[in-house]
């Protein structure tokens, strides 16, 4: 029997589509150049990645999110030349080696094309020859410089442009900073240029334009392009010839505080300077009186945003991608449906509870701790634990935001009382870059450096140069968590939270997770962070819910709040009874080193102390097993070694300078499960699932569900899509291999001295990832889930436009309902039987290791769903 839940929701969708259509018409038909509008749109399409010190995952194609997924990606592909799915050949190989299952493929074709079309389309998918090469539209107009004028403008302009930009934005690499950097970009250039001796330009004309002339973009474009109809396309071509640099300029323009040493720069300024450099180059090569670009372009190229025709090949890709995704989803849904029916009730008396971040890297640790201590209970919630604030480290000059990126907190928490001096690394001294002090330091430090390389190769250990997750805060320091009155403010922020504010946050958090009774004597609040050496992308491994930082402060703050007697009084009045014996303990899990540190242990009461020690032992064992599970993907570690040796090897990786893969970050993330732990307990999901605790029984109407679901699209969906796009096109949407990366100005990486910035993820982070979209599975009644996601348009967009899949598990009969085109319809998994896993150790020791990081080899490393006994 097929049930359908549906609300009248189509209106949202239609409005959005209509909106888009009109926008497209305008940009195609309006001939006049509207600078403000064009720049606004251009910024929208540029990569949104800001300074790399706070790596915030986001959908790489965020500009297209108002479109359906497939429509959007093919459009982006045609316009900008991105590869947006795996290659056809790769899909076919995946099918041949069984990774895409035949029944699923047939089902996907049947659903989309009808039962009669299966054979036809299957033949097309498997064997029809297609021309898969893609000629993008971007760059076609500017290509005329080379073909018609015989000049490679980019090659002549870009090196200097990048150099000047990088020097201006530089945060602290150069010893001699941009002398006029406290001004805006163009004023700074003007101040520099008016020195009378030297110039960035080769010709007087460009210099005079900058210093005294009319620097309106349209005026400059008139000189360079000529025909107003092509201004817009020219600017797109120009800015997308170095989308990395344009992207960071645009990001810094929108959020200057992304840089510690703030800069006043805008995309407008960048364009003006670039156009001036182009004018300069053209003037230099062609002398006075050169003609603009359009003078020699007789056949204008296709308009960038003209409609993209749909092709059969696109449909083929669509079917393959769906089949690839459902080959895994089907297993998972079958596993959940089957497993959930047979699972026993958890014991009532808990030994301890531990709240982890929803991060999929904690998925395995939770499984292990549950196996080591079957009486414990683990929960998951976004790793800022519902407390949003800025953090000011002791002696620190800058506040760090510790909550999801879109949230703007009103609170400040300060660290004090530890008085620990930050250690320096002798070899990182800047003297080595100067002449005479450099000479002295080479004669002394030079030989120390030799010894250092030797030591780090054979005895890696933590040093101040390594990003240490535990150093984010000092555990011996005190925090200003409790607000002292209305005047207790700094920088326009309230210092600490009032008791009432604390209670609200604790209550929301506990209710969201469904943890409102049966408290164990100790509740651990475990944030996570990641230590790694020699890794500019280190913050991409930290907690996404804490703006790419370790969540240790949040864990400690939340534990403080939940232990606060007055907070508990308020909670008591609201019906959450936390027993007097129960204590909350903050902690931090280092996901690279596999270590856990606990905070404020001295506050534990005497009777809880021995329990804590017992729990710590259990955690240690779980960490050993977790290390072993992770080690199967690391070539340098033999999984058959003694488990303690594996643990040591894992720890060494996190402090080894030569290790480009200290951990694998969010690689392989595919699922997000919102529900009780029982739904997935005992399922082996191979660290692929974000796990968010939620108990529908405490929230039958779904009042709390929206709050739980709201961050999932932007956080988990963002992570998933960034991995997806970095995986399918690591050249254009990812950062390429890490090995040649050169740190630029402390805000980004480029491949070489003269290269474009490389936003996105490096190949070392994505090679284990199967590029599939996120599937969110919610344990609740389908109609409640539908109502919830429809209540906020920004949230609904993720699902209705298919950027993220969503399914509901009926909490009573455990049936699966899949959301498609606005309705939840029942999904009957094809898979009838999920294999039980052998022994955990055997599973890990016998798992295959990829031979190459090509998708067809790499995906073999990802294990199927097992039921653990």
């Amino acid at each position: 029997m097929k049930k359908t839940y549906s609300n009248d929701n189509n209106s949202v969708n239609e409005v959005m589509l209509a909106d888009f259509a009109s926008e497209e018409l305008i940009s195609v038909q309006m001939p006049l150049f509207d600078e403000h509008h064009v720049l606004h749109e251009l910024k929208h399409y540029l990569p949104a990645q800001s300074a790399i010190k706070d790596f915030i995952h986001h959908n790489s194609l965020h500009a297209y999110q108002h479109l359906k997924f497939y429509e959007a990606i093919f459009k982006a592909s045609k316009i900008f030349g991105y590869q947006v799915t795996l290659q056809l050949q790769e899909f076919r190989q995946l099918y041949q080696n069984g990774r895409i299952s035949e029944p699923v493929l047939e089902r996907v074709i049947r659903d989309k094309k009808g039962a009669g079309q299966v054979a036809l389309w299957k033949a097309k998918l498997i064997s029809k020859q297609y021309d898969t090469s893609n000629t993008p539209r971007i760059g076609m107009l500017r290509a005329n410089w080379k073909s018609r004028f015989n000049i490679d403008l980019d090659e002549r302009v870009q090196p200097l442009l990048f150099r000047v930009l990088c020097s201006y934005l530089d945060q602290g690499i150069s010893l001699w900073q941009f002398p006029t950097g406290n001004k805006g970009f163009l004023p700074a250039l003007r101040a520099l240029e008016s020195n009378g001796f030297t110039s960035f330009f080769k010709t007087k004309r460009a210099k005079n334009l900058l210093l005294h002339g009319n620097c309106d973009i349209s005026h400059l474009l008139k000189m360079v392009v000529g025909d107003e109809a092509w201004y817009e396309q020219y600017l797109y071509d120009q800015q997308f010839s170095h989308q990395g640099w344009s992207g960071i300029v645009s990001a810094v323009e929108d959020k200057p505080e992304a840089l510690f040493d703030t800069r006043k720069i805008s995309l407008h300024d960048l364009i003006v300077f670039e156009l001036l450099l182009e004018i300069d180059t053209l003037e230099y090569y062609f002398g006075n009186g050169w003609e603009p670009l359009c003078s020699r372009v007789d056949t204008p190229p296709v308009h960038l945003f003209a409609a993209v025709p749909s092709t059969e090949l696109q449909e083929v890709f669509t079917l393959w991608q769906d089949a690839f995704e459902w080959s895994y989803y089907d297993d998972v849904l079958a596993g959940i449906e089957m497993g959930a029916k047979n699972r026993q009730q958890a014991p009532v008396k808990k030994s301890f509870q531990a709240i982890f971040c929803i991060d999929e890297r904690e998925c395995s640790l939770r499984r292990h701790i549950e196996q080591v201590d079957p009486n414990c209970e683990t929960l998951g919630a976004p790793g800022f634990f519902g407390v949003e604030f800025y953090f000011l480290p002791e002696n620190g000059k800058f506040q760090e935001k510790l909550c999801p990126a879109p949230v703007t907190p009103k609170y400040l928490i300060k660290e004090f009382g530890a008085n620990e001096k930050r250690k320096h690394e002798l070899l990182y001294t800047r003297h080595t870059h100067t002449l005479l002090p450099g000479f002295i330091s080479i004669l002394t430090l030079g030989f120390l450096a030799g010894a250092r390389i030797f030591l780090n190769l054979f005895r890696p250990k933590m040093s101040p140069a390594i990003s240490n997750a535990f150093a984010h805060m000092n555990p011996r320091a005190t925090f200003t968590i409790e607000n002292q009155g209305p005047d207790d403010r700094e920088n326009g922020l309230q210092i600490g939270f009032t008791v009432a504010e604390m209670a609200t946050r604790v209550e929301t958090q506990l209710r969201g997770m469904g943890l409102i009774s049966n408290f164990a004597p100790i509740v651990y609040v475990l944030a996570h962070g990641s230590s790694s050496a020699n890794n500019p992308h280190h913050s991409a491994h930290d907690c996404g819910a804490c703006s790419g930082r370790p969540g240790s402060v949040n864990a400690r703050v939340f534990a403080f709040m939940a232990n606060h007697s007055k907070v508990r009084e308020i909670l008591h009045k609201k019906g959450i009874e936390i027993p007097f014996e129960t204590q909350f303990v903050g902690g931090l899990h280092d996901t690279a080193a596999d270590e856990i540190g606990y905070f404020d242990e001295h506050l534990l009461r005497a009777e809880n102390m021995p329990l804590h020690f017992a729990n710590k032992t259990a955690f240690e064992e779980a960490l050993d097993r977790n290390a072993k599970e992770r080690s199967r993907r690391f070539a340098s570690i033999n999984t058959k070694m003694h488990i303690k040796k594996i643990r040591k090897a894992i720890k060494d990786r996190s402090v080894s300078l030569f290790e480009p893969r200290p951990e694998l970050g969010h690689g392989t993330n595919t699922l997000c499960i919102v529900g009780r732990r029982n739904l997935t307990k005992g399922l082996f999901l191979d660290r692929r699932a974000f796990l968010n605790s939620y108990n529908y029984q405490t929230d039958l109407e779904g009042a709390l569900l929206l709050n739980v679901m709201r961050p999932l699209g932007i956080v988990c969906g963002g992570i998933n899509l960034e991995y997806y796009f970095s995986r399918v096109d690591n050249y254009k949407l990812g950062a390429g291999t890490k090995l040649p990366h050169n740190v630029m100005g402390l805000f980004g990486v480029a491949n070489s001295s003269d290269g474009d910035l490389r936003p996105g993820l490096p190949v070392q982070m994505i090679e284990v990832h199967d590029p599939v979209r996120l599937l969110i599975i919610v344990e609740h009644f389908p109609e409640v889930v539908l109502k919830t996601i429809q209540s906020v348009p920004e949230l609904y967009e993720w699902f209705i436009n298919e950027w993220v899949h969503i399914a509901a598990i009926h909490p009573e009969n455990k049936q699966v309902f899949y959301f498609k085109e606005g309705n939840f319809t029942q999904y009957v998994p094809l898979k009838q039987q999920i294999a039980p896993a052998q022994d955990f150790h055997q599973l890990i020791e016998t798992a295959t290791e990829m031979e190459t990081n090509h998708i067809t080899d790499a995906t073999r490393e990802n294990l199927p769903v097992f039921i653990l006994n």
């Binding site: 790399i52 090469s133 980019d154 200097l160 990088c166 602290g172 690499i173 150069s174 010893l175 001699w176 900073q177 006029t180 520099l192 008016s194 020195n195 030297t198 960035f200 989308q243 510690f260 040493d261 620190g396 000059k397 800058f398 760090e400 930050r422 690394e425 070899l427 080595t432 870059h433 450099g438 080479i442 004669l443 030989f447 450096a449 030799g450 250092r452 390389i453 050496a533 890794n535 500019p536 070539a635 340098s636 300078l657 030569f658 480009p660 399918v728 096109d729 050249y731 291999t737 090995l739 040649p740 990366h741 050169n742 480029a750 070489s752 001295s753 003269d754 090679e767 031979e851 190459t852």
Partner: protein, 622 residues
């Protein structure tokens, strides 16, 4: 004792040869062979140095193998060992070993894992050839190996545009250094009438006397050596290649441009010091170059906002100081300075990615807002001017391009006429008249006969330049390049009595390479249709094997030490008279542009962004 020296070349050579035949995917074996090779070498060098020290550190020299011998010419490999060799060999072995261990993990799963380790071993062969060399010929063969491995490792990410472009740029600088050495070798043949060994320079008085007697040729040799050293060590005005060489994996940048390769110029100066050490003009030039470089490079280093270029310029500045030390005779200090700089820069490059975390963290606690502007407006103007100049690297790149490379391209571009049918007829006529001239040499007037070789050398250079600036069919450029070698042979035939065997030696190697290379181009043309040199094609993505064969033929044709042409080039030069500096210069330029023409063809046809866009392709600017 001295006969042990050959093993320090043999060990890495064997390692390199083994590595060539290992399967691409066996990472453990590939890195194991490399580690084993360099490890054995390291232990060997340490033991050897200990033994050598116990024996009172004598200067060792051995004439190893004679490769070619005629009454007036002898080409032999000679090894040499003194304290300079000891320091360079030791530091080289330690750093190569450390970098090999580092790379073993770092390069894991990288596309081109094998390529990397093979190139590293070949580099190490070249490095040892240089530091153990006992004569110019041996040194030069190592020098060429270093150049080509540099190109291969800078262009390691060959599917992107910038590494290929910059690899080629560095190659063109290196090749300029090569021809300086060729010229130095040529003149020294005439000075001594044989191939001199470095050991013979030990007799200071005799060398000094010779220098004074033949002042002009001796100065010519010294200046050529000096330019070669300046280029290889990135001193002014040739500094700009070093920051652009940081394109390969961080580890290869560290060992090449952080430590070993870049100090070879210093090595060359130390090695040749006995020859010119008494000549104050040369010392002054070196002092001035070193001083100017250290000051300018320090300025440029101060404004660098990316980690690797900062290290590059800081290192250049220190090498400038080393030049000063060498000129002043503080050689022990220079050696210590070299070792310290090599270790430090290797370390800094290897940990360069961690600078982000370290300095950002440092900012959190120690950030100071920028100071107010310079109060003195005039001083401020000067500072601003200097800042702009430093950002633009004092315009050296631009100036070199404009005043050195562009004129040659301009000449090549003017030769479009030769693309036509008449052009072909013209070349045929020239060839025929050349051969006729040679046959009738008895009957020609003396003046005419003396002018002919120079005329042919010039024509030969023009042909190469035509190939070098070719934008159309790659085969045309290839034929031009090869024909010019015929032309050179004719020029030499006309110049002096020369044995046919010697001409055969010279043309034999290049002829077979030329044929193989031409067949490769024909094959790729038949597969892909378009092989114009206007764009990069990136065909290595599909045609890996063909690309390798073609690369080998490029190297063979350009006189890389894999064919007899390598000896042949040296031989050709011995037949240019001492007084024919112009002719020697023409031929040297010919060899410079010959290699550039050939590798340009290789780069454009096989490297760069792949033309067929059915798979992800990098942006040109990345």
């Amino acid at each position: 004792m001295s006969h042990l020296l050959q093993f320090f070349i043999l060990i890495p050579s064997v390692g390199f040869l083994i590595s060539l035949f290992l399967p691409r995917k066996k990472e453990a074996i590939l890195s194991g062979v490399t580690l084993g090779t360099v490890g054995i070498q390291l232990v060997g060098i340490v033991l050897f140095i200990a033994w050598w020290l116990m024996n009172g550190f004598p200067t060792l020299d051995i004439k190893q193998i004679v490769l070619y011998k005629s009454p007036e010419f002898e080409f032999f490999i000679d090894f040499y060992f003194d304290k300079i060799t000891a320091v360079f060999a030791f530091v080289g072995a330690v750093l190569t070993f450390l970098v090999a261990v580092f790379s073993r993990y770092y390069m894991h799963r990288e596309d081109g894992f094998k390529r990397y380790f093979c190139a590293l071993l070949l580099f190490y062969v070249g490095y040892n050839l240089i530091v153990f060399a006992g004569n110019f010929e041996t040194l030069f063969s190592g020098w060429e190996i270093l150049g080509i491995t540099s190109f291969l490792l800078i262009a390691f990410y060959r599917d992107r545009y910038l590494p290929v472009k910059n690899g080629f740029k560095v190659l063109s600088f290196y090749r300029l250094g090569d021809i300086c050495l060729i010229l130095a070798m040529w003149m020294s043949h005439h000075l001594w009438h044989r191939n001199i060994t470095f050991a013979e320079w030990g007799e200071m008085a005799a060398v000094q006397e010779l220098f004074q007697q033949h002042y002009a040729p001796a100065m010519f040799i010294t200046v050529a050596i000096l330019i070669a050293a300046i280029i290889k060590s990135a001193q002014l005005p040739f500094s700009t290649w070093l920051p652009r060489a940081m394109e390969g994996p961080t580890t290869s940048s560290a060992i090449f441009y952080g430590s070993l390769s870049v100090h070879i110029g210093v090595f060359l100066l130390l090695r040749t010091y006995p020859f010119w050490g008494h000549e104050w003009i040369i010392k002054t030039i070196i002092l001035a170059t070193g001083l100017a470089t250290s000051l300018v490079a320090t300025g440029i280093a101060r404004v660098q906002s990316s980690v690797k270029t900062q290290i590059a310029y800081a290192s250049i500045a220190q090498i400038g100081l080393m030049f000063i030390e060498v000129a002043l005779g503080f050689h022990v200090l220079a050696l210590i300075h070299f070792a310290g700089n090599a270790f430090l820069r290797t370390y800094q490059l290897l940990v360069s990615p961690s600078v982000l975390n370290y300095l950002v963290h440092d900012m959190v606690f120690h950030f100071k807002p920028r100071p107010a502007n310079e109060p003195n407006p005039r001083l401020q103007k000067i500072k601003h001017a200097l800042y702009i100049l430093s950002i633009k690297e004092f315009n050296f790149d631009f100036l070199l391009h404009r005043y050195f490379w562009s004129p040659f391209k301009w000449i090549g571009n003017r030769m479009a006429f030769f693309n036509s049918r008449w052009g072909f007829v013209f070349w045929m006529l020239v060839l025929v008249s050349g051969v006729t001239g040679f046959l009738l040499r008895e009957n020609l007037g003396v003046n005419l006969f003396n002018a002919l070789p120079i005329l042919f050398a010039v024509l030969s250079l023009v042909m190469v330049l035509k190939g070098f600036s070719e934008r159309g069919d790659a085969r045309r450029a290839w034929i031009m390049a090869f024909s010019s070698q015929f032309m050179t042979a004719i020029a030499i035939l006309l110049n002096k009595d020369i044995k046919w065997l010697e001409v055969a030696l010279y043309l034999g190697g290049s002829m077979s390479a030329a044929i193989v290379g031409y067949l490769c181009l024909r094959k790729i043309k038949s597969i892909e249709g378009d092989i114009s040199l206007e764009h990069y094609h990136g065909h290595i993505y599909e045609q890996r094997g063909l690309a390798l064969v073609f690369l080998l033929s490029c190297l063979g044709l350009s006189g890389f030490p894999i064919t007899p042409t390598f000896i042949g080039i040296d031989l050709m030069f011995t037949h240019v008279h001492k007084g024919q500096i112009f002719m020697a210069l023409m031929m040297a330029l010919n060899f410079l542009f010959l290699e550039l023409t050939l590798l340009r063809i290789y780069a454009r046809i096989f490297m760069g962004q792949h033309k067929k866009a059915y798979h992800p392709i990098a942006f040109k600017s990345s």
